[in-house]
């Protein structure tokens, strides 16, 4: 078995990033889009941790990764609160039904 190296982490992160973009672009459900955003943030997190471990700047990278985790949680809270507000009004979280603003 080959040794697990930096490349393996980067490939996983790139795949996660691509999946996140696909999820954000194709899904019509607001909660699913929010999940896609979490995938994007975690892809960046994996990248940062891998670069920190293999690049030598361990402290800075680990601190950055912790901030990414904390702020991703904050973003999910705000996003879900707004989805909740929409759901109370429209009884739906489908992005195609929340289309009163356009032009």
């Amino acid at each position: 078995m080959a040794q697990v190296g930096l490349q393996h982490f980067l490939v996983v992160a790139a795949l996660l990033f691509a999946l996140g973009i696909v999820c954000v672009v194709t899904r019509r459900n607001a909660v699913a889009v929010l999940i896609g955003i979490e995938l994007l943030l975690n892809a960046a997190g994996i990248n940062v941790v891998a670069f920190a471990r293999y690049g030598g700047n361990l402290l800075a990278g680990s601190a950055f990764a912790l901030f990414i985790i904390a702020l991703a949680a904050a973003e999910a809270v705000v996003g879900l609160a707004l989805i909740f507000a929409i759901h109370r009004r429209l009884r739906s979280v489908d992005l195609e039904q929340t289309e009163t603003l356009k032009g």
């Binding site: 980067l10 992160a13 990033f17 996140g20 954000v24 607001a30 889009v33 929010l34 896609g36 955003i37 994007l40 943030l41 892809a43 960046a44 997190g45 990248n47 940062v48 891998a50 670069f51 920190a52 690049g55 030598g56 700047n57 800075a60 990278g61 601190a63 950055f64 901030f67 990414i68 702020l71 904050a74 973003e75 705000v78 996003g79 609160a81 707004l82 989805i83 507000a85 929409i86 009004r89 429209l90 992005l95 929340t98 009163t100 603003l101 356009k102 032009g103």
Partner: protein
């Protein structure tokens, strides 16, 4: 500079953080009623903002511009943008007084979030480290999402908040991925460290390294472009501006944009330090400048052309603010000392005229309950003072003399033409042509106000509210600065330098 010695330099931010915390805690513990709630809390917020502004003016100068181990970089440009952010927030507090678009039982939260937003903008405009940029952008974004969805009278505002949080989340995720690539390629998170690594690294000599760097820069530009509402990251802008409560829209169109421009400039001069001194020599920054130049051209053209078809004044001003982001990007492209100076002048002018225009929209909305261009028919006869103020703001947004907008655009075009070179002059020409196009849709509003008469029996527009008063007050400097522009020249001189 180590942490303890850095503290006196961030007193404005400390004042804002304490004020925001005080607002939330007092609301929870005391739950005031009546006048204390209506007047007391806005006054507390204004007091905190005023204290922050005084701390900013009196902040000690320091030979060493980097604080907290390089997390924050303070220079004249960041000091100026912090001032713009605080003043814009204070104006938004003023606009919100008595505004029907804010639920009366959640006024205190509104002011607390506004002060937090000001804190985020101040941090963002002096962030000199990728981690600090990310944290500050998230403070600005998270408070903006909540404030955009604050009006609970209909579904529009919640929908605006939802759209904003989804677009914003994607933009910050993409930007973060770009940051992680930069960290991996150059092994540093501080902008100055990245600049040194970029100058000496062998990464750029290989084809793969160049492409990876370019990809990272494009990703970063996506996040920053979202904050300044530049095309193609502008789709959220008209919807959010229309749905959000008007007092907050006024702030959103100025504050986060100003902070976004500060971080965009600092990112460029951090990675390519020669951009700050001699822009013509910065050939290594070419892909970055090329990206920004193309973005500037596309942004102002799309913004101006889309604005032509808008019948809702808030949407029209949203597209106009997109176009203005394109104009200000011209200053970023010009670089050197003149570019940032021109951006600073334009930000000052834009602060006054754009918040003024939104104040008029807010004042009309209070009696007409609509932002449609139809309710502006005959405004010149019903509320001459308000219509006159709006005319001044619109002429200034077009950039016609003798208004402040003319002086601001003059500085932007001059920075490009002094830089010289075919592409730079061409960009300036595109800017001039765009200003001509913008005259068309601004003049449409003027015609509605002064030449067309209202159908039926329109509601009278009251001048006795904070929005109308602010609009009239802001019209004075918009005209005065167009005639006596020494203060603007002083701004350009003061804030042209970035470290």
């Amino acid at each position: 500079m180590p942490t303890l010695e850095s503290l006196p330099h961030v007193l404005p931010e400390v004042a804002l953080a304490v004020t925001a915390a005080a607002l939330f805690v007092l609301e929870a513990l005391w739950q005031p009623r009546g006048r204390a709630r209506r007047v007391g809390f806005p006054l507390l917020a204004l007091g905190g903002l005023l204290a922050a502004l005084l701390f900013l003016v009196a902040s000690p100068s320091s030979a060493e511009p980097r604080f907290f181990g390089g997390l924050l970089t303070q220079d004249p440009f960041s000091t100026f943008v912090r001032g713009v952010a605080i003043v814009a927030t204070a104006l938004a507090v003023g606009l919100a007084l008595g505004s029907p678009s804010l639920p009366s039982n959640r006024r205190v939260e509104y002011h607390g979030l506004l002060v937090l937003l000001a804190l985020g903008m101040c941090l963002l405009s002096s962030a000199g480290h990728l981690l600090m940029i990310y944290v500050a952008i998230e403070i600005v974004s998270l408070t903006s999402y909540l404030l955009a969805g604050f009006d609970d009278r209909g579904g529009r505002s919640a929908e605006a908040g939802l759209k904003y949080v989804l677009f914003g989340g994607v933009a910050s995720g993409v930007m973060l991925f770009g940051f992680s690539l930069l960290f991996g390629l150059f092994g540093d998170l501080s902008l100055s460290g990245l600049g040194q690594a970029l100058a000496h690294s062998t990464t750029l000599s290989t084809g793969a390294g160049r492409w990876a760097t370019l990809l990272a820069l494009v990703f970063v530009l996506a996040g920053l472009g979202f904050k300044i509402a530049a095309v193609p990251f502008h789709m959220w802008c008209p919807d959010v501006y229309e749905g959000a409560p008007t007092p907050f829209t006024a702030l959103l169109s100025v504050g986060p944009k100003a902070a976004g421009f500060a971080v965009l400039l600092r990112f460029g001069t951090g990675l390519w330090p020669e951009l700050a001194t001699d822009a013509a020599a910065a050939t290594s920054a070419l892909p970055w400048l090329l990206l920004l130049g193309v973005m500037s051209t596309v942004t102002m053209t799309v913004g101006n052309l889309a604005a032509i078809w808008q019948d809702n004044l808030k949407r029209l001003l949203a597209y106009s603010s997109i176009a203005h982001a394109g104009y200000m990007l011209m200053g970023v492209v010009a670089g050197g000392r003149e570019g940032p100076g021109a951006v600073a002048v334009y930000l000052a002018v834009y602060l006054i005229m754009n918040i003024g225009a939104f104040a008029v929209v807010s004042a009309v909305d209070r009696s007409a309950h609509s932002e449609d261009i139809g309710v502006y028919h005959g405004l010149g006869r019903r509320a001459p003072l308000l219509a006159l103020a709006m005319a001044v703001f619109l002429l200034s947004l077009t950039g016609l003399p003798p208004t402040a907008g003319f002086v601001g655009k003059l500085y932007l075009f001059a920075s490009l033409i002094h830089h010289g070179g075919f592409w730079y002059v061409l960009l300036a020409v595109v800017g001039v042509l765009n200003s001509v196009v913008s005259l068309y849709f601004y003049a449409r509003v003027l015609r509605a106000m002064f030449l067309e008469s209202a159908a039926g029996e329109p509601a009278p527009v009251s001048l006795a509210n904070s929005a109308a008063a602010l609009a009239v007050v802001l019209a004075v400097p918009t005209l005065a600065l167009g005639i006596f522009w020494q203060p603007l020249a002083a701004i350009a001189n003061f804030s042209g330098s970035l470290f």
